[in-house]
């Protein structure tokens, strides 16, 4: 099933004006607002015709589309713009795929957790929180997973600056 066909089915329950299809080399992407994400994911999983029973991948992305501000020490800081989360869904039953993209404001990146829909999201969401600082509301155990608990900052953001010292050890080498 193509993204356009899936959108036809979504019409029955959601107002489609809030969705947008972005064309792309590696397959179309459906951009959805964060406030309907959880309902949408439950619908995508439970509807017989769609049956997206597996979340293949969840990735956070720093779009870096804000304003770049130069700081005194030569590094820069990004103000405004967006972070994004991607959901790559797949159905074992129908063997079709769908990519969801949610845009989040950089200053307050909060998105509902889909952990209750697909349990595989658990660690993926913790990783996105760890490396991008995206907060997944409703996650049962949202803490850092790859980095130590007391690490500063979110390394995969484009304007990340390494902390000087970590527990008395010099970090930048």
């Amino acid at each position: 099933m193509t993204t356009t066909e899936i959108l036809e089915i979504l019409k029955e329950k959601f107002s489609v004006e809030q969705f947008e299809i972005q064309s792309n080399i590696g397959g179309e992407i459906l951009i959805v607002p964060s406030n309907v994400l959880l309902d949408l994911c439950f619908f995508l999983r439970d509807d017989e015709r769609l049956a997206f029973d597996s979340l293949m991948n969840l990735s956070g992305v720093d779009l870096a589309d804000g304003e770049k501000k130069k700081l005194e020490d030569g590094s820069f800081e990004i103000v405004g713009g967006h972070l994004a989360t991607y959901y790559h869904l797949h159905s074992f039953k129908h063997n079709h795929k769908l990519t969801l993209k949610v845009l989040l404001p950089r200053e307050n990146p909060v998105v509902p957790s889909v952990e209750r829909v697909w349990r595989s999201a658990d660690w993926h969401e913790r990783e996105a929180y760890d490396l991008f600082g995206i907060v997944f509301e409703g996650h049962h155990n949202l803490k850092r997973i790859l980095l130590p608990d007391d690490w500063d900052g979110y390394p995969l953001r484009k304007d990340y600056k390494v902390q000087e010292f970590y527990q008395g050890m010099k970090v930048p080498y």
Partner: protein
Amino acid sequence: MAELKTDHLVLNMGPQHPSTHGVLRLEVVLDGEVVIDVIPHIGYLHRCFEKHCEAMTYPMVIPYTDRMDYLASMYMNFGYVEAVEKLMNIEIPERVKYIRVIMGELQRIASHLVAIGTFGIDIGAFTPFLYCFRDRERILDLFEMTCGARLLYNYMWIGGLSHDLPPMFIPELKSFLKDFRKNIKELNDLLSYNKIFIERTANIGILPADTAINYGCTGPVLRGSGVNWDLRKNDPYSIYDRFDFEVCVGKGEIGTVGDCWNRYMVRVREMEQSCLIIEQAIEQLPEGDVTSAIPKRVKPPVGEIYFRVESPKGELGYHIISDGTVNPFRVKVRAPSFVNLQILPVISKGYLVADIIANLGSLDIVLGEIDR
């Protein structure tokens, strides 16, 4: 008599423990010898692979992919280069496609041999490990003969390969396959149908199919639960649709479908199927130049792709975003072990401490790709 105070005991397993297959720490909550909960702590090998990628050009990323699943480096290369080629829409020569499949399947055998051998050690069988490594050694010799490296190859390049096959490769490979068929039989006698091994693994850590799917398990872990799913068959990439092979699933002739023994047995059977694929690939192998399609400058157009392949451990996905420059804007790796490890607490609850070891061994994780 005053009532005795009872309490749960928290036990630390790892980060340096022979059975954790790397630097993994398991926080185990015990009631006597019964497992109440297992909490995996990962990140000891984290080295910012994804951040590094953003500072490098596309071809420079390939050696880093080697170091993710260092027991299946060829397949890590395979997934990455195919993803970038898809993004750039490069058509690669036929010979390259065949050599990639041969290398990928040899790597699958090598990876499964390590999984089986170390699983045996975890359970207490030392000899099968030596048998497995004897055979793996011959595969590594074949790799060394081709690209000079035994473990981290940097062999597959975007659009081609670093070297063509040396003249002695095909005869050596044929003789290996002939011997290896016999050795699988030997392995089955020695380990698979060994009474002690069966006692330790059958009916342990049973994973139902729907739980496996909901937790995102892939590869032998999913197939061990009886789900007939293999990306090589169900979502074919490269030229896998040209070969005739079977998808191996856990059948439950010993124990229950979804237990440790069935997960283990899927790997043994997959090695036989890999031999079949390699034999067909050798027969169809065309002549040609393996470096002719390598682009001088790798600069994909603006766009993104999620591309997945069936690595020995499960579904390996690359999510690559290009902003039209020579550096990737974002590379996210969906590592199969990262997702498969999440299932460990679920299948270990209610079993004994010794069964955690069996469960972990049967999942076949590599910490290099979990922590990235």
